[in-house]
Subunit: 438 residues, 2 copies
């Protein structure tokens, strides 16, 4: 008879239900893989009366966290509630009462990870959080174990499945943003309030966690450029394709002369690169290490089962005692000096820009002059011929799109030029500007 | 002052030199990541007088394994010599003398893994072997930790970097096999005797190891179809492309009605699938689990540094004590009944076939008749028009290629039809036949 380890589940929503199902249905499998029997002892929910998609004995379910805190026989808490409150308070109380914690909450760990990780360490407990980043893709295991021989030099990643689904469906179906967003919500990919998904916040939180692990540096979200896909017209996906690129919401953290370059932005990726080929709700992380070179990891970035797979891996690590030998050596409390984050203005890339300009003499000369004075040199320009408009009396005055690809330049110059261009009467406000991943 | 763990390196060739360099140059990094100081105490080579690409104190290097066996202060041996003899004997003696072992030797572990793993287990020692499969891609960590919640249902992989380099260079450069093989050897990708790389043996050995971990079943190489890329003409890569496929050396192990379907063959892969896009010496493993769904892992499949990265990860796991909590739970000594391997004849796929036929009346009817009688139905046919040959007096008698894509059929029917077709006078011997990965 193998030893029994009692655990509690805090939260029985999308992910919690998936985890409970694996625990109940695959208990033989899990016992074989950690030598101990994992027994689900308590489940904490907010509303006990809500119907559930899983059958649990009544006495197992409670709406009172204290029932778990008071039960010393429960060694591990799998906490699967979102947001900061009461998730933070719960996690602290669980750690203080001596439980190891498994969590999927990237918002909480990105914002309050430092305190929580330290608290766990002081209590001699562990926090495992594979499911917080990239769903079923085991990037935390990779960073904290498989890549220990390396200094990671670059992370380039697609970390938000909803955004990637929207971008790939817009392009493939020739559909607009609002239309595809609705479908994503119907399919359960996007939340009822999808703001954090599509405005880049969710991807930035995940990048924050990866950055801490890979570079031993805690970076807050306001320290790097962040932009979502929520204002992106279909038109630009089509122009990008014409130029040989796919548009993806790319999160980047890389070392550049010992500084950290970071950003989360809709980005042009050359069509033959692996990141350009990730479609639907998949995520991908491209990791470069100074010993291993470049490696890629991909799979479903969210969803009940992929996320449950990641939670179970952490739980089994914790039951087997492995988390005790992984967590203390993660780069979460580096005593080395934090790396400086490269100021946004100094980030060097190529850029895609689309302006809507009044088709009249001299407009292009004015634009080119502003770009030139800001030392932005142009690599290519697309302006498709538009039909002459008969009313215009030979002087056509239509609004026409002009698409420009720049040579290498800096975010600072692009911002300065944009400000000047916004003053021109012959150019409509709100040009679309996206960097290129090289 | 952190605890010191003494280790020995057995073999200082390509990989060994890479490992020694990381140990010496990145000792601070490694100490931080396992809490102990790893001290390279002894290096065993065959020929002490050979010049080395790394500077080591004379007294560290020996040509006598006994020096390591006798030194009780050495806790871990990193064994990086290839082949079976004396590698097997060495590993047994190292385990018997109480050392943990890290190895990259897939040939040895595929052929004698069962005995060696059991021996380690009896001695309370561990064998870690991340570097034995897919170089820098941490697929062993993924299978033994990150995917523990899953029953793996399918492995589809590119596991031999040399073969993949040759196939992608042949296609991209329009070059023939012999020409690219020479380049691969010059670049150090292919060994002086590249037979095991290009005939599919190396990939099959790696698939054998993955199969054991994923399905708890030891399969010997003669139990499944294995074919290399060493006889593949450029022509077929071009026809495949015309049909929308890329040719890759694909290793497959998947569950089909509780049986194991396995094969290593040059295979047509649809151009938009991730496996089709792997180029150069990269490897990729596509893993499907019953909880996580499909996930992909890729990176350099061989080479000094990528392989060293994998060895170091295992070494750090072993030093940190994690291997003690991973190795015993790997599916290496399943007491469950082994899964049956699906007989080759019953493997169901679509197939690509190219015949060289004498361009005369009735040839095609004869071919079609044989295929039809073997219940192979045709999905598409390519026969490009050839110029009429003037000498042929209207009856052209050239040899022309006919390319056929079949509908789903079995390996058994394909083999039966091939045998009959070989009898036809109007068809040249040795058609090219490759399965399609669906
Ligand atoms: N869904 C995904 O695909 C996914 C992927 C990766 C990571 N995650 C993360 O996983 C976590 C859980 O996500 P989810 O999608 O499973 O959320 P969810 O479906 O909204 O479920 C949340 C659960 O937490 C419970 N809960 C909320 N507040 C509580 C409180 N004060 N006390 C007790 N229980 C409380 C809810 O109880 P009631 O059922 O009674 O309301 C519900 O069962 C989040 O941090 C999320 O970011 C989710
Ligand atoms: N190369 C790769 O990219 C790669 C990738 C993955 C896995 N692997 C595996 O890693 C292992 C090592 O490969 P490698 O490429 O490093 O091989 P290698 O360059 O041929 O080096 C072999 C080393 O083993 C030593 N050696 C051989 N027989 C010995 C003996 N009887 N006693 C003591 N030392 C002996 C040799 O000593 P001398 O130097 O004195 O001759 C040499 O240093 C193999 O199992 C291989 O399959 C290699």
């Amino acid at each position: 008879m193998s030893e029994i380890v009692k655990i509690a589940l805090i939260g029985l929503g999308t992910v919690g239900t998936g985890v409970a199902r694996v625990l109940l249905e695959e208990s033989e499998r899990l016992t074989r893989r950690c030598g101990k029997q994992i027994k689900l002892a308590k489940v904490v929910v907010r509303d006990k009366s809500r119907p559930r998609h899983i059958d649990l004995p009544d006495e197992m379910v409670t709406d009172n966290l204290q029932d778990v805190l008071d039960d010393e026989s429960i060694q591990i808490a799998v906490q699967l509630i979102g947001g900061i409150n009461p998730a933070k308070d719960y996690m602290e109380r669980l750690l203080d009462s001596g439980k190891h914690v498994v969590s999927a909450n990237k918002a909480l760990l990105c914002e309050h990870g430092e305190e929580l990780f330290s608290r766990a360490r002081e209590q001699g407990r562990t926090i495992a959080f594979e499911a917080a980043v990239a769903g079923g893709v085991p990037i935390i295991h990779v960073l904290s174990q498989a890549m220990v021989g390396n200094q990671i030099t670059s992370i380039e990643a697609i970390l938000n499945g909803t955004s990637n689904f929207i971008l790939s469906e817009m392009f493939l179906g020739g559909r607009d943003y609002a239309d595809v967003l609705r479908e994503a919500q119907e399919l359960g990919y996007a939340e009822a309030d999808p703001a954090l998904d599509v405005d880049g916040t969710d991807a930035a939180q995940k990048l924050g966690l990866l950055t801490q692990l890979a570079f031993g540096t805690k970076v807050s979200l306001d320290q790097f450029p962040r932009q979502g896909i929520d204002k992106l017209p279909l038109e630009d996906l089509l122009y990008a394709d014409e130029l040989g690129y796919s548009v993806r919401l790319i999160a980047v953290a890389r070392l550049l002369n010992e500084q950290l370059e970071m950003h989360v932005q809709p980005t042009l990726v050359q069509l033959d690169k692996p990141l350009a080929q990730v479609s639907g709700v998949n995520n991908m992380v491209a990791l470069e290490g100074d010993v291993v070179g470049k490696t890629w990891y991909s799979g479903y970035g969210a969803g009940q089962n992929p996320t449950a797979s990641a939670v179970i891996a952490d739980l089994v690590d914790t039951v087997a005692g492995r988390s005790d030998l992984i967590f203390p050596f993660m780069d979460l409390w580096s005593d080395r000096p934090a790396r400086k984050v490269l100021p946004a203005e100094e980030i060097r890339r190529r850029y895609y820009m689309r302006f809507s300009v009044l088709d009249q003499p001299h407009t292009f000369a004015e634009m080119a002059d502003i770009l030139g004075r800001n030392q932005i040199s142009l690599a290519s320009i697309i302006q498709h011929e538009t039909p002459e408009s008969p009313e215009a009396n030979g002087e056509s005055r239509q609004i026409v799109p002009v698409v420009i690809m720049t040579h290498m330049t800096t975010e600072g110059r692009i911002r300065a030029a944009s400000a000047e261009l916004a003053e021109l009467k012959s150019i409509c406000p709100d040009p679309v500007i996206m960097p290129v991943l090289d």
